[in-house]
């Protein structure tokens, strides 16, 4: 029983990893940058002990650096990204490492790297926040004149290397318009405006949670927004204007996710970005409400507006949704609404901006704007202008059609013309309803069994996040890291002299001696025998251990020298 339970736990933990692959890699954000510039360093090998010089080979380091996100307009500084890797002697190289950013006159700055060196490639990026006065240093100075000096000075080692950031390397691309510093990003809010139309007559709608953030940009440019949001959202409130049986949204309705969105603006613009993970969790699945009621009718001279309904304009992780106010046939003008149409609360998402200088085309359009919360106005979209407009069954235009027939029970004169007219209209609606039936049945079945776009990937991403944040995920990650570290160890090869004893005249040692010198003499013969033997034993032991390990996975207990029945 215990073994079966253990198997179930193992499967539950590892099955998603096998299904969706490990490791999961997060989204990367491209940025304006220069090419990588490489420099190599070698250093003295002295260990610093008085009178002692262990000749164990000098460490070597390789560094790369590049400018990131330079804005030549001047009000936003860039950053410098540095990669480094040193051969060994980690305990020496970690000491007093500083990075000097040298430039003309008063532009020189010194930045403490303040990091632990490892034998692997390591990276560090710093910007004005870390460097303190780095930002004003960049303003007015030619960036080609800068160089990075990597300097490590400990009691036993000193390394110095220079990376000329502008020496024969292309300068960063200039930003011709727009910059992130002038962008205004509003607070991230949770909305429940995302809706999807479901088959049926009258049409019904499901309200799903979304994240919303409003960004204002000052100029024409192509903007790429990269967003990442967590599922750790606070409990939201119920939309205030709904009197229907709307299921209260709860924390966790918005699942974790990420994505990007590019928008091209022709001038100063306000951009509403919407993001959603998945609406299936948290009990919202199957919560169906009738089209929400919008009571205000705007201009009283216009035909009355009937129902306001939420329309899903596009699908995907980033969809632009807007409030569509259905009107009677032939209505024109603008509608308005009062009260809090949407509720908002919460936080927990981040948004970053990256400029793509000089980019053209690729516009995804500017989503329709909705004033969050309170009252607002919006132009009534025509069916042609509205992407994702639900089928005709949703638009309640029947009232006007029947009114044109001019039929009245109290006026017998209208029974012939008006009655026939009404009857024909009724039959036409009946035929239309029957013709649409197969399509709606198929759509209904498809809606039942076909998951929405990105649903599986969203859930996999959420599970990935949970796995990485869990204790088993951390342990497995540490185990894999340890194995890779051991396999990548750079063990220095000594020479045939072996361990050196220093000169200690007080003890009669007037010169450096090598007690295990195997270059000549008996120890040379001994070493020539011992090393191949140990090499053979090492590989033989590894192979035998591997056979035993793999055999154990098949239930075999493979041993050497065991009696029959034991192996």
């Amino acid at each position: 029983m215990m073994r079966r339970t253990a198997h179930a736990v193992v499967v539950a933990l590892l099955l998603p990893a096998l299904l969706f692959g490990l490791p999961w890699v997060g989204t990367a954000v491209a940025a304006t940058s220069t090419t990588w510039i490489t420099a190599h360093q070698t250093g003295d090998n002295s260990l610093g002990l008085p009178g002692v010089d262990f000749d164990i080979g000098g460490p070597s380091c390789e560094f790369q650096a590049r400018w990131m996100g330079i804005d030549t307009i001047g009000d936003v500084s860039g950053s410098i990204e540095v990669l480094g890797s040193c051969s060994y002697l980690y305990s020496v190289i970690t000491r007093d490492a500083t990075l000097h950013l040298t430039g003309p006159s008063d532009c020189e700055r010194v930045v403490d790297i303040n990091t632990t060196k490892t034998s692997d490639w390591w990276s560090i990026g710093f910007d004005s926040d870390i460097a303190g006065t780095l930002s004003p240093a960049l303003t007015g100075c030619a960036i080609d004149a800068y160089s990075l000096v990597f300097h490590q000075a400990g009691p036993d080692l000193e390394l110095t290397g220079t990376i000329g950031l502008g020496d024969g390397n292309p300068a960063p691309l200039p930003v011709t318009s727009g910059n992130c510093g002038a962008m205004t990003i509003g607070a991230v809010e949770v909305y429940y405006q995302h809706a999807s139309w479901t088959a049926g007559s009258p049409a019904t709608y499901k309200v799903k949670p979304m994240l919303h953030v409003r960004v204002t940009v000052p100029t024409a440019s192509t903007w790429t927004f990269s967003g990442a949001w967590s599922a750790a959202l606070p409990t939201a409130t119920t939309p205030t204007t709904y009197s229907d049986s709307l299921v209260n949204p709860v924390a966790g309705d918005v699942l974790a996710g990420s994505g990007t969105r590019s928008v091209t603006t022709t001038g100063a613009a306000t951009i509403d970005l919407y993001a959603r993970g998945s609406g299936g969790a948290g009990g919202l699945t199957g919560s169906v409400v009738s089209p929400a009621s919008v009571t205000s009718v705007g201009d009283p001279d216009l035909p009355p507006l009937l129902n306001g309904s939420y329309v899903k304009a596009t699908s995907g992780n980033f969809g632009s949704s807007f409030l569509r106010i259905s009107a009677t046939s032939g209505a024109t003008g603008a509608g308005s609404w009062t009260g809090n149409v949407f509720t908002s609360s919460g936080s927990g998402a981040t948004l970053s901006c990256v400029i793509h200088p000089g980019a053209t085309g690729g516009s995804d359009g500017v989503p329709q704007n909705i004033t969050p919360g309170g009252a607002g106005t919006i132009g009534v979209p025509s069916a042609d202008e509205t992407p994702g407009t639900p089928p005709a069954a949703e638009t309640p235009a029947d009232a006007a059609t029947e009114g044109d027939c001019d039929f009245s029970f109290t006026d017998p004169a209208s029974w012939a013309s008006g009655g026939i007219c009404a009857l024909v209209g009724l039959v036409q609606r009946l035929i239309a309803a029957v013709k649409g039936l197969p399509g709606q049945i198929v759509a209904g079945i498809a809606g039942l069994f076909v998951p929405s776009d990105g649903y599986l990937s969203d859930r996999a991403d959420a599970l990935n996040t949970e796995w990485q944040a869990s204790s088993p995920g951390a342990v497995m990650d540490a185990g894999a890291t340890t194995i890779s570290t051991v396999a990548a160890l750079d063990i220095p090869a000594g020479d045939c002299h072996g361990v050196a004893f220093p000169q200690i005249p007080e003890l009669g040692l007037t010169e450096t001696t090598y007690p295990l010198d195997s270059c000549t003499g008996p120890l040379h013969t001994f070493a020539a025998f011992v090393r191949p033997f140990l090499t053979l034993m090492l590989y033989l032991g590894a192979v035998l251990a591997s056979v035993r390990i793999v055999g154990a996975s098949f239930g075999l207990n493979l041993t050497i020298g065991a009696k029959g029945g034991e192996g």
């Binding site: 490892t118 034998s119 859930r459 204790s471 051991v486 063990i491 001994f526 090393r531 090492l538 590894a542």
Partner: protein, 95 residues
């Protein structure tokens, strides 16, 4: 909708199991690389100090041997998991 419920059920099990584990922060000892105070750092120090004996002991071959054993361990775990998963399928057989 049905498929989404099935996906939720399938992925909900491991998510629920993961939620049962208390949060844990690994000590610095297991940090990646060969930084000071890490397992990689200790191993690097040992290898450096024993480097002068490499004419007798093939220390430079030890990582390769360990890699063989580590690969075998990974293969064994994979085999075990595949066997466990396969054991859940009766392939038409009965109890």
């Amino acid at each position: 909708m049905v498929a989404e419920v099935l996906i939720d059920l399938l992925l909900g099990i491991p998510a629920w199991v993961l939620s049962l584990f208390p949060p844990m922060e690994l000590p610095e000892f297991f940090a990646p690389g060969t930084g000071e105070g890490t397992i990689g750092g200790y191993l690097a120090t040992v290898s450096e100090n024993m480097g002068s004996l490499s004419n007798f002991v093939p220390l430079d071959l030890v990582p390769g041997a360990l890699a063989i054993v580590g690969t075998s361990l990974a293969a064994a775990v994979t085999i075990i998991v595949v066997r466990i998963v396969a054991s859940f399928s009766t392939l038409g057989g009965g109890m």
